[in-house]
Symmetry: C2
Subunit: 356 residues, 2 copies
């Protein structure tokens, strides 16, 4: 960025709290937990934007379900931030959520660059993140609708992918967008990795509110109109905003990937390698946490004998483990989970996770 840009952080705090069950629960989804240190993942998401070169940061906008209003307000307060909290009456996927954020950020007549970030991701290389955001924000300030494509280092089948097109002619190092791909099978994922033109889809975006609304109005006028109605009929309550539930509920949900990004001529992909993970299951959390000499990760009282790459997470009871490798053991209240890393993707289907 040549001049200072007003950057509006937008945090999308969705997530159902089943994939890291029994630690994450419906009442406390993973973005509100301190999984990687003292900050919750949501707090770390906001902390990560502090100090981006060439950006003035606006107070953040958090889009979340009504149920989490006060716990999120408290987490913002503990960081010394106020911010605004936009409360979705019901989940309608990312296009309506981003529309709520764009309208909230521009209702004073400003047209800031929104930096949209899911609340529940881990990024270990913050410098790389900030450099990519600087580049993306400059493109967005000039009118682009930017998505960040995360350089894959494994044939992950748990992530969606972004295929990029030609390099942009502006010399920015960004690319045109070819298409989004849903979670592939392993062979397809390996093909993407070998191809070199595919990135993981981290769901991180940068765009001017006005540019986004214009593209949405062009390609999904129904969503644009319905969200405008929900906002017009909504109500403020302190730092929270309640869109009208009836208007919002009538929206046919759609991801911003398909509603806008694949259709707009302004799309740009900024590649970035930044130690990113969506912490989608216990395997991913194990890998994201720092390990001891045997690869074990221990939170809480535990004794491990002849163990390697074991994750232990206990809220009280002592956990004694002998002879195991590549498993996760989670004690939370009246629930105990023991799973192989390979089995971690099935956690959300367990009776305990489903019947919350």
């Amino acid at each position: 960025m040549n001049t200072t840009t007003l950057l509006q952080p937008v945090v999308l705090s969705g997530g159902s709290g089943t994939r890291l069950w029994p630690l994450s629960r419906e009442k406390y989804p993973k973005q509100l937990l301190s999984l990687m240190g003292e900050d919750s993942l949501l707090q770390a998401t906001l902390r990560r934007v502090e100090g981006i070169a060439g950006a003035d940061l606006a107070e953040p906008v958090v889009v979340c379900n009504e149920e989490y209003r006060f716990v999120i307000a408290e987490q913002l307060r503990l960081m010394g931030q106020s911010g605004r909290i936009v409360l979705e009456p019901t989940g309608r996927n990312t296009a309506p959520a981003l529309t709520l954020a764009a309208l909230a950020a521009s209702n004073s007549g400003a047209d800031p660059v929104l930096l949209v970030m899911p609340a529940d991701h881990v990024i270990t290389d913050v410098a790389a993140f900030q450099a990519a955001v600087s580049k993306g924000a400059a493109l967005a300030a000039a009118g682009a609708v930017v998505t960040f494509g995360i350089t894959p280092d494994a044939p992950e089948t748990g992530y969606g992918y972004i295929q990029r097109g030609q390099a942009l002619a502006d010399g920015s190092g960004a690319f045109a967008l070819a298409r989004f791909v849903e979670k592939p099978d392993l062979a397809t994922a390996q093909g993407f990795l070998d191809d070199g033109n595919y990135s993981w889809n981290g769901g991180i975006f940068a765009f001017r509110a006005g540019a986004f609304m214009a593209e949405l109005a062009a390609h999904r006028p129904d969503i644009a109109a319905a969200v405008r109605e929900a906002v017009a009929l909504g109500r403020e309550d302190g730092n929270a905003f309640y869109p009208d539930a009836a208007s919002f509920g009538r929206i046919k949900g759609e991801s911003v990937d398909y509603a806008v990004m694949e259709k707009t001529a302004r799309a740009a992909v900024v590649p970035v390698a930044m130690g990113w993970s969506d912490i989608g299951n216990w395997h991913a959390l194990r890998d994201a946490r720092p390990a001891d000499g045997e690869g074990n990760r221990i939170h809480g009282p535990a004794e491990l004998v002849d163990c390697r790459n074991v994750l232990v997470e206990t809220d009280g009871p002592r956990v004694s483990v002998i002879g195991l490798e590549d498993i996760a053991i989670v004690i939370n209240g009246d629930e105990v989970l023991v799973t192989t890393m390979a089995g971690a993707q099935k956690v959300g289907k367990l009776t305990g996770a489903v019947k919350q």
Copy 2:
């Protein structure tokens, strides 16, 4: 037995409660737990002698540590038995314990055949047990000091072994005793299995009180004298007997195997195959319990997905397990144990088991 013999069941209830930690604890060693059904192992030990052909059963004698007097009295009461409880002031191994039992059983001038059984073993083929006891009791009634040699079906390194000598000339199917062998290494255990003349040492004996005391007096007069003194200076309290602690404490502890069995010319070995296990660790308990179609054994609320041969034992919390094989998961109060079957022998060394 040609005529009815008075058979005096003697149950040795020792054991420190570490090998099945955290379920077995110092305050509740495994013989007092209901590991295999409604009965505790001690109750099952007494239940197992009911109905032995040719035997009139005396009320049992239980030899145990003072700490367990009332819980054992209650377990006897629940079975409708009174029995006598001989309370060792301190553990001095099996020779003094059996001497206490022999003196208790003969103090009225009778000379019954004692059937001595550890309280914490599992025997699945009760008919085979009773047939062997019938044979052993007949030999004991005629003056022999009998030990039962359990036919091994695996090269177990966790058991002691008995090497037998020549078949006895009386046609009883019993053998002379060659020697006792402490827990062997695997190669040695395999050699014993191949040899065919070795049995597991289950610590089960049959002898007349008089014969035992005569042999003890001949080979370990120090133990005989010290226990007689402890009994002479002891006191009755209801159905319990407290030997004198000072006299008993001065005894140099010794197993009956070495104090008497290896030295006496009256020793006889009765072989028996009866589905025996000493439940010496979680692996052994897993194998002793009935399994579901996937080999899993579950006590308490649990959901197992893609698991085989997993033991779950929980006193309340639900246990959810994915993708594991041949492990034990035990939840008890504020302790959680997760171990491979191979690692189960190390449980007693865990901090939680040691620092009780």
